[in-house]
């Protein structure tokens, strides 16, 4: 048997719904509602009605157990051919990146001609579970055969068992919230409050400018009456950001720098990206915005290994650059997901740090500094918001369009994730 040849995987376009701060515009929308809406907008933009797509893949970080087939259910509720296979993927905030990257690989191998990847999340309709102790009693009840056994099980229930267990952004192994984890990293890398606020301000200004020039006209379809990301504060300023009190790392006292302004809020939203082979795009008269070149995942031991929770992309990038014979400076756009301003700035600083690059990344020389004017040029998560699994799709679609507009060059995408993980990717313009 011959090895399957590797061909290009092309990003054709994307669609997302505007992102909404938790408990605002999408308070009554479920993950399935939102992902279906994003999918339907994509179908409408690219005329995919009745088409059988090779595969649709995506997921949600916060998911009801009844949504075990979330993406397939969304496909069944869409205008696509219902014979389109679909499956769920989950890798925390890197869900979208992993879903899309894996689909790209299948296209490269010739297993798929077309694919849709993405993600969705809601913290307005989060799954609330019963406590573990109550669950144990209820399981015992369901196993009980006799009335006596059933009553015996029921008799064990105490008022304290009835408190619901809501999901949080806390790390199960440390009990610390993601923000408190980042606060440690932010302090370690000596990132100032001012630098974080500057990054947040740039995110808002860049996103607002992108809206003004119609950049999102073919990337977003409104949903539930919302036409723009409602976390966007076009009139934000350093003064306004400076007034906010620290929200994370409060135990650092005066040294706490992370506020609600330079951290992403809980957000609801969904995103999709349409990929295909060149043959598929050509046969269907569809645009080819960029090639999905490569992607790489990394994980760090934030529990015992002394690395910051959200630093994995720094590692993944080093490996991916080496594999592709590229330097960190060989990019025209850097899309580094702004989970927190501190995450982006810590990552950049680590890449410039000789000791970190030598000791942790095993490099002879630091990866070096990037041209900051190429960073998150159309805004990122601090302004748009961050519906966990939807962020990868947002970034990949926007970045592909940026490369298409420029007509040349390449982009580095970096998304950190809970559990000390991260996924990075390279997109390349089509000449």
């Amino acid at each position: 048997m011959s090895q399957p040849s590797v061909r290009n995987a092309v990003i054709i376009g994307g669609n997302r719904i505007p992102f909404a701060r938790s408990n605002t515009a999408y308070v009554n929308a479920s993950n399935q509602d939102m992902f279906t809406a994003a999918l339907e907008g994509l179908v409408a933009r690219y005329g995919l009605q009745g088409q059988r797509i090779g595969a649709v893949s995506g997921g949600a970080v916060l998911k009801h157990s009844k949504n075990f087939n979330l993406i397939r259910e969304a496909v069944l509720g869409s205008s696509l051919d219902h014979a389109t296979p679909a499956y769920d993927v989950q890798m925390a905030c890197a869900t979208g990146m992993e879903a899309i990257g894996s689909l790209a690989n299948k296209i490269k191998l010739g297993q798929l001609e077309s694919a849709i990847g993405g993600g969705v999340d809601t913290t307005s309709d989060a799954p609330i579970a019963v406590s573990d102790s109550l669950r144990a009693i209820l399981m015992e009840l369901s196993r009980a055969r006799t009335t006596k056994a059933k009553l015996g099980a029921l008799a064990k229930i105490r008022p304290g068992h009835l408190a619901p267990a809501a999901p949080g952004t806390g790390e199960p192994r440390t009990g610390l919230s993601m923000g408190d984890h980042q606060a440690i990293t932010t302090k370690k890398w000596g990132i100032t409050r001012e630098a974080q606020d500057e990054l947040a301000l740039a995110s808002h200004k860049n996103l607002a400018a992108a809206y003004d020039r119609g950049f999102f006209n073919d990337l977003i379809t409104p949903f539930n009456g919302l036409a723009k990301d409602n976390n966007l504060r076009a009139d934000s300023s350093m003064e306004k950001l400076a007034k906010l009190k620290p929200a994370f790392g409060k135990n650092l006292g005066e040294e706490a720098t992370m506020t609600a302004g330079n951290s992403t809020p809980l957000t609801d939203g969904a995103s999709t990206v349409l990929l295909g082979s060149e043959e598929y795009a050509q046969a269907n008269d569809l645009p080819m915005l960029a090639n999905f070149v490569d992607f790489e995942a990394a994980a760090v031991d934030f529990v015992h290994g002394g690395e910051g929770l959200l630093m994995a992309p720094a590692y993944a990038t080093a490996r991916m650059l080496k594999r592709n014979n590229l330097t960190l400076q060989d990019f025209d756009f850097y899309e580094i997901h702004e989970a927190f301003a501190g995450t982006v700035l810590s990552t950049l600083k680590a890449w410039e740090d000789e000791e970190f690059c030598r000791e942790k990344l095993g490099l002879e020389a630091p990866l070096g500094a990037i041209d900051r004017s190429k960073l998150n040029v159309n805004g990122s998560s601090l302004a748009a918001g961050h519906p966990f699994a939807a962020t990868g799709g947002r970034i990949i679609a926007s970045t592909a369009k940026m490369l298409h507009e420029k007509g040349s060059g390449r982009a580095l995408i970096s998304v950190c994730a809970a559990g000390g993980q991260g996924v990075v990717a390279i997109l390349e313009a089509r000449n």
Binding site: A37, E40, G41, A44, G47, G214, N217, T221, P222, D285
Partner: protein, 445 residues
């Protein structure tokens, strides 16, 4: 609401009551469906015309039961009056009296179509008088029709005949349910251009059509109608209307283009999308429009300028770009309004824009014809939409029932049918046309 009233006055006891009280009884209109008969009964042709036989043969080929001069006791689905060879007003008498007798046998949803020639300033006074007189005759017949029947006219300019492609196409349009809300109107055949479709159920087969303002109301109906008629449709609307736009697109296999038509590069974006994604651009429907009503005495720049920018300036700018691109056979159909013809209180800005559309169409016909294309406009009267649903009930009832001959508001699909027809290749000889879809409303000409 219209349906409820119509239901009451057309059924059972309440029908008797309504008749006793002399309440207006709006008829059910005969609307188009691809498998419905072209006419509800036989068609009688009265009068003489050079190509009458060819016309008759064509009607027979359309499956119609055609009677010449006398239909006996048969009920009639249509009546064609060949008046184009009359020379003086006294010639009208025998034909019109025969027509009157035929009207007694016209079935509900029946159609009267009169062929005539335009009255010109250089004509003999006798000739001009009879031709202008026919205009009055047709409009008056429209007022006398009952049961959703209509009377319309086809004016044949020099060099054209009753058998010219666009004359036949116009006749078929008036016969069919597509013209349900068109009454007392004229279509003028200017040239012998035009090709009748191979399949009358798919007159837009193989065409790529762009509809602006397609997220809802009349625009959504236009998109659906063009799609039904065989076109590949691109639906355009403001980015903020994208959710509704996607639903329209997904219901008809269209593609969406979220675009503000006032953008400088709107035409380029439309061409890029239509040609890049679907291979050509054959038809553009300038439907996007807004109202910002205010009495002129209270008018402000914001209201005035936005209406002009969206409703007419954007169309002029886009048309210039389309003309510059020399797209072969490109047809344009714009939305005018009876407000642009008759005026409307509180709508000076809107009337300026819609009157502007009519002027634009008249002046652009030659330009589009140079590349084998055409331009036309449809002027809707009172159409039942989300927008008009906001008008208070009393005013709305009066507007929809008392004013038009058909005693009801039109539906978005009625406007869409006229647009689809005027945008088809068969209507090429009607270049420069402005057609009212108003149920023969009292307002306007």
């Amino acid at each position: 609401m219209a349906d409820k009233y119509m239901e009451l006055v057309n059924t059972g006891l309440t029908k008797k009551l309504a008749t006793m009280l002399g309440l207006p009884r709006p008829p059910r209109l005969r609307r188009y469906s691809p498998d419905a008969a072209l006419l509800p009964g036989p068609v009688l042709i009265l009068g003489a015309s050079a190509k009458a036989q060819e016309l008759s043969d064509t009607l027979v080929s359309w499956g119609l039961d055609v009677r010449r001069h006398d239909a006996g006791e048969a009920k009639l689905g249509g009546l064609v009056l060949l008046l184009d060879e009359l020379e003086r007003p006294t010639d009208l008498s025998p034909l019109m009296l025969a027509a009157g007798q035929a009207l007694r046998k016209l079935l509900p949803g029946g159609r009267v179509v009169a062929f005539s020639r335009p009255a010109g300033d250089d004509d003999e006074p006798q000739l001009s008088a009879v031709r202008q007189g026919i205009d009055g005759v047709v409009r008056s017949m429209g007022r006398e029709m009952r049961g959703g029947a209509t009377a319309n006219g086809i004016v044949l300019e020099a060099g054209t005949t009753v058998a010219s492609p666009s004359a036949l196409a116009a006749l078929r349009f008036f016969f069919s349910g597509r013209s349900a809300y068109v009454d007392g109107q004229f279509l003028t055949v200017r040239t012998n251009d035009g090709v009748l479709p191979a399949d009358f159920a798919k007159p837009l087969a193989g065409k790529v059509a762009v509809v602006t303002g397609a997220a809802r109301g009349i625009g959504a109906a236009i998109a659906k109608t063009l799609s039904r008629d065989g076109a590949q449709v691109v639906v355009v609307d403001m980015p903020a209307a994208g959710e509704a736009l996607a639903k329209v697109a997904n219901s008809i296999g269209a593609t969406t283009l979220q675009l503000d038509v006032t953008a400088e590069d709107a035409a380029q974006q439309i061409m890029d999308h239509a040609i890049g994604r679907h291979g050509s651009l054959d038809l553009v429907i300038h439907n996007a429009g807004i109202t910002r009503d205010k009495l002129l005495a209270n008018m402000d720049a914001g209201r005035w300028d936005s209406v002009i920018a969206v409703n007419i300036a954007s169309q002029l700018r886009m048309n210039e770009a389309f003309l510059a691109a020399k797209l072969p056979g490109l047809r344009i159909v714009s939305l005018a309004s009876t407000s642009g013809i008759a005026g409307n209180r509180g709508q000076t800005n809107y009337a300026a824009s819609k009157g502007g559309v009519i002027g634009m169409v008249h002046a652009s016909a030659k330009l589009f014809a140079e590349n084998g294309g055409s331009i036309a406009a449809v002027a809707p009267g009172f159409i039942e939409t989300e927008m008009t649903a906001k008008i208070p009930l009393g005013t709305r009832t009066v507007a929809r029932m008392v004013l038009p001959s058909l005693m009801q508001g039109g539906l978005p699909v009625d406007v869409a049918e006229a647009i689809s027809f005027l945008g088809s290749d068969a209507a090429a000889g009607l270049n420069g046309q402005v057609l009212r879809v108003c149920g023969q409303s009292l307002v306007g000409a």
